[in-house]
């Protein structure tokens, strides 16, 4: 094709421009959700507490993707790789070096930050589908890399590693599951607050400027390369921490738990929760944890089809995900207040 035939595309964005105020919940609503999350485990069985812990963990991983895609406008299908690195860091530190489980979280975060930051470098030149393919490659490569022979001493190869579940400290009379739930809750809330603050800060504004118009952002003096890789690093770090929590909660890490399917689930979680709306992450996580189970309950043989139909139903009703529901709710509340 000659240069004269080059297409001039209008600057249409792959990711919607969500203003930063619209990215979070109001204080009142946040407190209600928080109270519900704190009280809930007291009334339910251990297995449900475990599921809720997984909900928090996947919520955290979806949140990380949300910062990357909804915040800085970069697409990733490779989140499962960062999740795996976090999980393995924790498992190896706990089982080979007897490090306390709580200490492994920040270490996993730092390791994944470095990994994500480095991966962000070649990814800089790619965007859209090309970036999707690059991250996809990372996700497909990760399980194979974890199975490599010379790493087997540390990673346990195909068999993976068993992780011991921590007891509640300070002699608290609490089941392991419940303790882990509250532990995860504290970590998740801490990271949520950090993430909200990050997006409201100078760096967050830089992310959003890049998302909305890269060229304009660089004209305003935003270091595009730095902030794009930084977004990858931060997202990888949070995903890694989610991975470590996941390893502790499931008590087991194996290469085949972290395949591309996990990355696709996290992506679906982000879409269902609403791209660029941080509280939606937990709604999205609920979707990817519970809907496959519901689909299996409706029909064993056709569970995939039922899941697909439910997913279609959701994206037809609310193409912008849970964010759309929240906006509708707000408008309704506003109208009621006026009357």
């Amino acid at each position: 094709m000659s240069a004269a035939e080059e297409v001039v595309a209008e600057g249409h964005q792959a990711v919607e421009a969500v203003p930063k105020r619209a990215m979070t919940l109001g204080t009142g609503t946040s407190l209600v959700v928080l109270a519900a999350l704190i009280i809930m485990p007291i009334f339910v069985k251990n297995f449900i507490i475990f599921q809720m812990t997984m909900l928090l963990i996947y919520g955290l991983a979806v949140l990380a993707l949300n910062i990357l895609t909804g915040g800085s406008g970069q697409f990733s299908l490779g989140q499962s790789a960062f999740y795996a690195v976090g999980a393995y860091t924790t498992a190896v530190l706990m089982e080979h070096f007897d490090v306390n489980y709580a200490l492994t979280l920040p270490i996993a975060g730092i390791v994944c930050f470095g990994f994500g930051f480095l991966f962000g470098q070649p990814a800089l030149r790619l965007s859209g589908v090309y970036l999707a393919l690059a991250t996809f490659a990372l996700a497909t490569a990760m399980p194979q890399l974890l199975k490599l022979n010379f790493l087997e001493h540390w990673t346990g190869g195909v068999q993976g590693l068993v992780v011991t579940k921590p007891d509640a400290p300070f002699g608290l009379k609490m089941s392991q599951d419940m303790w882990l739930y509250y532990f995860s809750l504290v970590v998740v809330i801490g990271i949520y607050i950090l993430a909200v603050n990050l997006l409201r800060s100078r760096s967050g504004r830089a992310f959003m400027a890049i998302r909305d118009n890269e060229i304009a952002a660089s004209a305003m003096g935003v270091d595009v390369a730095l902030y794009k890789t930084l977004a990858f690093g931060v997202s990888a770090a949070i995903t890694g921490i989610a991975g470590s929590l996941g390893a502790i909660a499931v008590q087991f890490v194996a290469p085949d738990s972290y395949t591309i399917t996990l990355a696709i689930s996290l992506f679906l979680g982000m879409v269902v929760g609403g791209v660029g709306w941080l509280p939606g992450s937990i709604v999205g996580a609920a979707f990817i944890i519970f809907v496959p189970n519901i689909a299996e309950g409706i029909s064993k043989g056709l569970s995939g089809a039922v899941f697909g139909v439910l997913l279609f139903a959701v994206i037809y009703l609310v193409p912008h995900g849970a964010r759309q529901v929240a906006i509708l709710g707000q408008q309704l509340a506003g109208k009621l207040r006026k009357n």
């Binding site: 094709m1 035939e5 080059e6 297409v7 001039v8 595309a9 209008e10 600057g11 792959a14 990711v15 919607e16 895609t69 697409f75 070649p122 030149r125 790619l126 965007s127 589908v129 090309y130 999707a132 393919l133 690059a134 996809f136 490659a137 497909t140 490569a141 194979q144 890399l145 199975k147 022979n149 118009n213 060229i215 304009a216 696709i264 992506f267 679906l268 982000m270 879409v271 269902v272 791209v275 043989g301 056709l302 569970s303 995939g304 089809a305 039922v306 899941f307 697909g308 139909v309 997913l311 279609f312 994206i315 037809y316 193409p319 912008h320 995900g321």
Partner: protein, 292 residues
């Protein structure tokens, strides 16, 4: 040296599979501007339909033509019923829709035809081609069909009014509408054509990988990789990309020590990404210039 030429030949033979799939991927990308993750499953379903027709006693070529027609109609129907309502939704929501379609088709095929592996006939026979042990007549036929398909598409897009209209609708929809092109139907037509091409790919691939609901998993990944490597805007690039990926994969498996079957895919993908880092729009893709 003989090992090298043999591996390249074997690479070309598998590359033909990827080239077919990549061509279908590029077709739909041209029409709708998205990568369709359900493409492989649609091709698999078409292949099952042709298999079912043959089970009912219809001869190969009649089943082939009938499947093409059915796939074309099914592609248009999927677009009209499922994706037209999502035309105004965000891009990522559309991608979620493709994943949903993937799950639906895969699971239904499993229920209708179950997950056992089935033999699929080839019209070209499977004798060694020109005395070579590495390429069978089927694989040679496959390469031939891919090239014919490519030529046909080239003439369709370059020299027919409707081909021109489809290109216009995909690249500048607003202006295309202003000159009286029904862009919405052009998209549907693109879906139909992509599904038909996918069904050809499926029917050619099935004798090699055997017929089962998950047969397209690996092939689609390589197909995407090939399409992206060649440049998503160029059908010719897709075919070249397909052959290159096939050759890469084989050579990496042979010459890099410690690379078993498991590491072939990551290495092929890594190589493709290194190419993309140097040429971000793919080898033959047009660079899209954005208006600020």
């Amino acid at each position: 040296m003989e090992l090298f030429t043999n591996q390249v030949l074997a690479g070309i033979a598998t590359g033909a599979i990827y080239a077919c799939m990549a061509l279908a991927v590029v077709m739909i990308y041209q029409a709708i501007d998205h990568l369709n993750f359900a493409q492989g499953e649609m091709a698999m379903f078409s292949t099952f339909i042709s298999w079912q027709l043959m089970q009912w006693g219809i001869p190969y070529w009649a089943a082939f033509i009938l499947t093409l027609a059915l796939s074309f109609i099914a592609g248009i129907a999927i677009e009209r019923i499922l994706f037209k309502p999502l035309a105004k939704a965000p891009v990522l929501t559309n991608v979620a829709g493709f994943i949903a379609l993937f799950a639906i088709i895969n699971s239904s095929a499993g229920l209708i035809w179950d997950f056992t592996i089935k033999q699929y006939p080839t019209p070209f026979g499977s004798a060694p081609f020109l005395g070579s042990q590495l390429i069978s007549t089927h694989q040679a036929g496959m390469i031939g069909v891919t090239v014919l398909l490519l030529l046909g598409l080239y003439f369709f897009f370059q020299y027919t009014r409707i081909g021109l209209a489809m290109r216009a609708a995909a690249s500048v929809p607003e202006s295309a509408r202003l000159v009286g092109i029904n862009t919405s139907w052009m998209i549907a037509l693109g879906w139909g054509m992509a599904t038909a091409i996918g069904s050809i790919a499926g029917m050619l691939i099935a004798p090699v990988v055997f017929l089962e609901p998950n047969m397209m998993g690996g092939v689609l990944i390589y197909g995407f990789a090939a399409a992206v490597l060649g440049g998503l805007t160029s059908p010719f690039g897709a075919v070249v990309g397909g052959f290159l990926v096939g050759i890469f994969e084989n050579l990496a498996g042979t010459y890099i020590p410690g690379v078993g079957n498991e590491l072939k895919l990551p290495i092929a993908l890594a190589l493709i990404i290194s190419v993309l880092v140097v040429k971000p729009a793919g080898l033959f893709g047009r660079h899209i210039v954005k208006r600020v």
